[in-house]
């Protein structure tokens, strides 16, 4: 096993374990922190793909900006630790119908994933050998503002809509 593969499994392990920890324990603050650790694993994977710009932007935007806000909200709202009582049969997610639908959905998703992955040509585990020749920031910017101009602008409008929507929903109703 080459050192690249070793690093790949290391980073992949960090992000998978981090994600599992997010949903696997009951303290919301720890969930937020585990998600940050998971982002660091992803960022390492981007570095292995020789895309340092994407790796750093991943840290700045997700781990640095968005998760700070998450942490802020969790602390300010003082979200309580989930107690044992919430995990008994009375919880809405544990009623028969949600459980049945959830089971069907998860089986569907796993089937789809296996189907999609088995059809992807040249699937190998590890780091892709074909590396993008040009991953410089200048090249990325040029592609983003020429070939993907429409997608780029549409995305920004989408984010604007989401922001306006959030403000409208959270605004106090005038009586």
């Amino acid at each position: 096993m080459g050192s690249d593969q070793l690093l790949f499994f290391g980073f992949a392990g960090v992000s998978v374990l981090g994600s599992l920890f997010v949903i696997g324990q009951r303290n919301p603050i720890y969930s937020v922190l585990a998600l940050i650790v998971s982002f660091f694993g992803l960022s390492g994977l981007y570095v292995l793909l020789e895309a340092p710009f994407v790796a750093v932007v991943q840290i700045i935007i997700y781990a640095g900006a968005i998760m700070v806000l998450f942490l802020f909200v969790v602390m300010l709202l003082n979200v309580p630790r989930e107690g044992e009582s919430e995990w008994d049969k009375a919880h809405p997610n544990f009623r028969p119908w949600p459980m049945r639908i959830g089971a069907v959905l998860s089986v569907l998703m796993v089937t789809e994933l296996v189907w999609a992955l088995s059809r992807t040509p040249g699937m190998t585990i590890g780091v892709a050998d074909e590396r993008p020749g040009n991953s410089s920031v200048a090249e990325l910017g040029r592609v983003l503002f020429t070939d993907y101009m429409f997608a780029f602008e549409v995305t920004s409008i989408l984010i604007l809509i989401a922001m306006v929507g959030a403000v409208t929903l959270a605004k106090k109703r005038e009586h």
Binding site: V56, V68, L71, F72, M75, V137
Partner: protein
């Protein structure tokens, strides 16, 4: 395994290890020097003597402080979150040390011919260095926020929340000022940004970005002070309101780590300003190979500026801080960015 052994024993690798260790030690020493300088400067400005008993002119005072901190009792509030309470100061210190990695502090050198090819004098020559510093600095805020939360004390929590709000607000202006210089230089690597600042106009004005874009420098310096939680922006630890802010419940070495991180962050922000705006290691009279002397001189001047600010200006009020950041600094930085972009397009800098 042969290739790994070759790599580990190559002169370049050993040189990088040596540079890394040097930076690591230098940052710790610089924190000690800054603590001493701060007390002396404060004393001078308030017409006192400052520390003068331990060693000549009180020079050994930082060492006495460290010994005292090491031997102090480690206290932890009963209701504190054990894991995060211990992790928070470590996160702060690690982020502070890491942020210095992509900062160059001297011209490329072969180290008296010992190395096969010239190597830049820095820990890691990353081609997105500016962004790495930005990313690591934004990790530092977690140390403060978590310290505030994990202490389970209202003063600590308020300090931590204030700090995160402040850092998020000022990071925007900070980033805009950075982007302006990145645009002018056409590179994200601090080494290349410094290289574009060599040479002179009319034979005597150095081609530093502080002369091309002084507004950007002002914004960067202001936001830098806010980012490092220094007076007049030291809200996270406003002692009249919050006892000591996020580190109220900390003592002994854990407190020392926060202190260390704060002073190292100051040095890092000053070093980044030197590289971005003041031409890094370029300067007259000293040959290029000894450029790190210029770097240290500029760094010291900026660090003194920090101390000067702290002991001259009173603290803002919190709403003033927010209004200043969002309503003045950010629009100014945005306009500056746009004007600079137009300038780059027009003059083709």
């Amino acid at each position: 395994m042969g290739s790994l052994l070759d790599y580990l024993t190559a002169p370049t690798t050993i040189f990088y290890l040596a540079v890394t260790m040097t930076v690591f030690l230098a940052l710790q020493i610089s924190a000690a020097v800054m603590v001493y300088a701060e007390r002396k400067v404060a004393a001078f400005m308030q017409q006192r003597y400052g520390p003068y008993l331990v060693g000549p002119k009180g020079l050994l005072q930082p060492i006495a402080d460290i010994v005292k901190l090491v031997f102090k009792e480690e206290l932890k509030p009963k209701a504190a979150d054990t894991l995060l309470f211990a992790a928070a100061p470590v996160i702060s210190a690690v982020a502070a040390f890491t942020a210095f990695a992509p900062v160059p502090f001297g011209a490329s050198t072969t180290f008296f011919g010992l190395l096969p090819e010239p190597v830049p004098l820095m820990v890691a020559d990353v081609n997105v260095g500016v962004l790495v510093i930005f990313a690591v600095t934004s990790m530092g805020v977690y140390g403060i926020v978590l310290a505030g939360w994990a202490s389970n004390s209202k003063y600590s929590l308020l300090g931590g929340l204030r700090s995160s709000a402040q850092m998020i607000s000022y990071e925007l202006a900070y980033g805009m000022a950075l982007a302006t210089i990145v645009m002018l230089a056409g590179s994200l690597s601090l080494r290349e940004i410094v290289d574009t600042q060599s040479g002179y106009w009319f034979g005597f004005i150095p081609k530093w970005y502080v002369f091309i874009n002084p507004i950007s420098f002002m914004i960067f310096a202001t936001a830098g002070v806010a980012e490092t939680n220094r007076a007049p922006f030291d809200f996270p630890e406003a002692e009249q309101e919050l006892v000591a802010g996020y580190h109220t419940e900390y003592s002994s070495m854990r407190f020392a780590l926060f202190f260390l991180a704060e002073y190292i962050n100051m040095v890092t922000v000053a070093a980044v300003s030197v590289n971005l705006f003041l031409g890094g290691w370029h300067g007259p009279f000293i040959p290029e190979a000894y450029g790190w002397i210029w770097f240290l001189i500029k760094l010291s001047v900026l660090c003194f500026g920090y101390l000067w600010l702290r002991w001259t200006l009173p603290r803002f009020r919190y709403d003033q801080l927010m209004a200043f950041g969002w309503k003045l600094l950010l629009p100014l930085a945005t306009i500056n960015l746009l004007v600079s972009a137009a300038g780059v397009l027009y003059f083709g800098l």
